[in-house]
């Protein structure tokens, strides 16, 4: 069915930690964005305020296709996300999705690595991998001891934590935690800030583990038309025949070796 432009209704909203919000969005039966989504995809959330033109690309944290709803966990980074954070159950907003490619789910032992606001998309992925029978290990990188979403991973995965300030888990970054616990696996799935993804990519190469990373970039259209959100690719891309893959279309998930960070 593909991408759906529709109106979503806020089902619930809560603040998980300062500046981090969780919103469940309900869709109609005919325009069920949630039923189409796979882990690693995102939705475009549009502001109801006419001066804010561009959609905000937000990763999907959880989906419940049968109930027709999905969850986003997002950080307030500007006026658009601030507006979303103030929405109440029953409020509605335009939504386009699901967008992007999503992770390819492999068999065997998985290492999921999420950092900061890159943690939320790991949750649906952990659920689905665990449902497939994979052994799931999750490494979550936080700035401090405010471990949002951590407990929600525990039913599906063994959870390891790193904090920059050392207040919980391994002091340092996600790769420090991976090494401290000697984690191994058949596939790495990762989302987070670019410096972290560089580290994950290097670790995957060093260990010879198939690694997928999810990138973030400023977007305008969200569907591959405007060429705003490109990343540098190793190979010539299929669209413009240069070395620029579109994060919104060919991504946001790339095989780590495919892109230059």
């Amino acid at each position: 069915m593909g991408k759906i432009m529709t109106t979503g209704t806020v089902k619930s909203q809560e603040m998980l930690s300062p500046g981090i919000y969780s919103m469940w969005i309900q869709f109609g039966r005919e325009e069920n964005v949630a039923a189409q989504a796979v882990p690693g995809q995102f939705i475009s959330m549009y502001s109801n305020e006419g001066s804010r033109l561009l959609p905000r690309p937000i990763s999907i944290c959880e989906t419940d296709g049968e109930q027709g709803c999905l969850r986003v966990v997002y950080r307030v980074a500007g006026k658009g996300t601030e507006e979303f954070s103030k929405m109440q159950p029953g409020d509605s907003l335009p939504i386009l999705g699901p967008l992007g490619n999503g992770f390819s789910l492999g068999e065997g032992k998985a290492i999921l690595i999420g950092g900061g606001i890159g943690i939320p998309p790991m949750l649906e992925l952990a659920k689905q991998l665990s449902r497939m029978g994979s052994q799931v290990q999750v490494v979550l990188g936080y700035r401090d001891g405010d471990l949002f979403l951590k407990e929600e991973f525990e039913p599906y995965a063994s959870v390891f934590v790193s904090t920059e300030d050392g207040s919980s888990g391994t002091k340092g970054n996600v790769i420090d935690a991976v090494r401290e616990h000697g984690l191994t696996g058949d596939g790495i799935y990762s989302c987070g800030p670019t410096p972290m993804l560089r580290g994950v990519k290097a670790f995957g190469e060093e260990q010879g583990i198939f690694t997928q990373i999810s990138l973030e970039e400023r977007m305008a259209c969200g569907i591959g038309a405007c060429l705003g959100c490109v990343c540098q690719s190793r190979e010539v891309d299929g669209h413009s025949h240069v070395r620029n893959k579109r994060v919104c279309k060919e991504g946001p998930v790339f095989e780590a070796g495919e892109v230059e960070l």
Binding site: G2, R52, L53, P55, A225, C226, V230, S240, H241, V242
Partner: protein, 300 residues
């Protein structure tokens, strides 16, 4: 009720096209709007060779608008002719190919390649603010505008629209220069050069530092310029700049544009093009206007 117009000898089923660069070659937005219902599709700028464009971030939002500095990333004329053009030709709509270049020869090479293609019109981008060479450099000097228009007209097999920059003192002078060079029409406005600074990071929002501003915030400037140009030249005007609704489009038509283009609004609303067409129709019905051509330039 008649919505069709004649633009430089090409019949358009309605006066609405897309603004170059916002709509790709139609494939992406074709999932949301029926391309058959558009007067024309204006493509993303195409050069003689693939262009990689600028570093990211390439886009940012501003109040009521946005800045972009894509830098004309495009696959070049060969891929365009082999892949994008056949896609568009499947639809019952006119194709306006936007042509960009760094040198006069670049433009001419693309225009010559398109001569044998089933393309209804060419739009020549002499006004992109985001590339160092070419682009805007051709569009800010009336002598250059006239010269490049004349050279393109010698080679072109389709009607030629020159796309004008608003980043000039007197846009009517540029329009007259295009007309003197033999242009069949002019389109305006390209984006206004702007800048945004992220005060928290103490850095430019765009890697390119400056970008082209578009969106509803620029519309009054665009309407004013369309009005000035429409009064200065005899050739038809394709107006654009911040159109989101049928009423926005009607402002441009009443100011003297024969056609309009919908650009940034597509990012905000993927069906914006179809909505604008429907909005024009609704207005005409409500006002008892039989022919859209009655509205063109009706405000003097």
């Amino acid at each position: 009720m008649n919505l069709s117009v004649d633009f430089a000898g090409v019949r358009m089923k309605n006066p609405v096209t897309t603004a170059s660069g916002t709509f790709g070659s139609g494939a992406e937005y074709g999932e949301f709007v029926d391309l058959n219902c558009l007067g024309a599709v204006t493509t993303k700028g195409v050069a003689n060779k693939p262009w990689p464009g600028n570093p990211t971030p390439r886009v940012c939002e501003t109040y009521g608008g946005m800045l972009n500095a894509i830098g004309l990333q495009n696959p070049g004329i060969d891929v365009f002719v082999d892949r994008d053009l056949p896609f568009l030709q499947k639809y019952d709509t006119n194709v306006i190919v936007n042509v960009c270049g760094r040198t006069e020869e670049d433009y001419l090479e693309v225009v010559e390649r398109l001569a044998s293609q089933e393309v209804q019109m060419l739009e020549i981008n002499i006004s992109c603010p985001n590339v160092e060479a070419g682009g805007i450099a051709f569009g800010q000097d009336p002598k250059m505008v006239e010269r490049i228009t004349r050279r393109i007209k010698e080679k072109a097999k389709q009607p030629v629209i020159m796309k004008l920059s608003p980043n000039v003192t007197d846009i009517a002078e540029m329009a007259r220069a295009a007309e003197a060079g033999g242009a069949d029409g002019v389109s305006l406005i390209n984006t206004l050069t702007g800048m945004k600074i992220d005060v928290h990071r103490r850095a430019f929002a765009l890697a390119n530092k400056t970008g082209g501003m578009s969106g509803p915030a620029v519309k009054p400037v665009a309407v004013r310029m369309v009005y000035q140009v429409a009064r200065a030249v005899q050739i038809p005007v394709l107006g654009m700049g911040g159109i989101q609704t049928g009423e926005d489009a009607l402002e441009f038509l009443m100011a003297g544009a024969t056609m309009v283009a919908v650009g940034t609004a597509n990012f905000h609303n993927p069906t914006a093009t179809a909505d604008v067409i429907a909005g024009i129709g609704r207005f005409m019905e409500e006002q008892g206007v039989e022919d859209v051509r009655e509205l063109i330039g009706c405000v003097r």
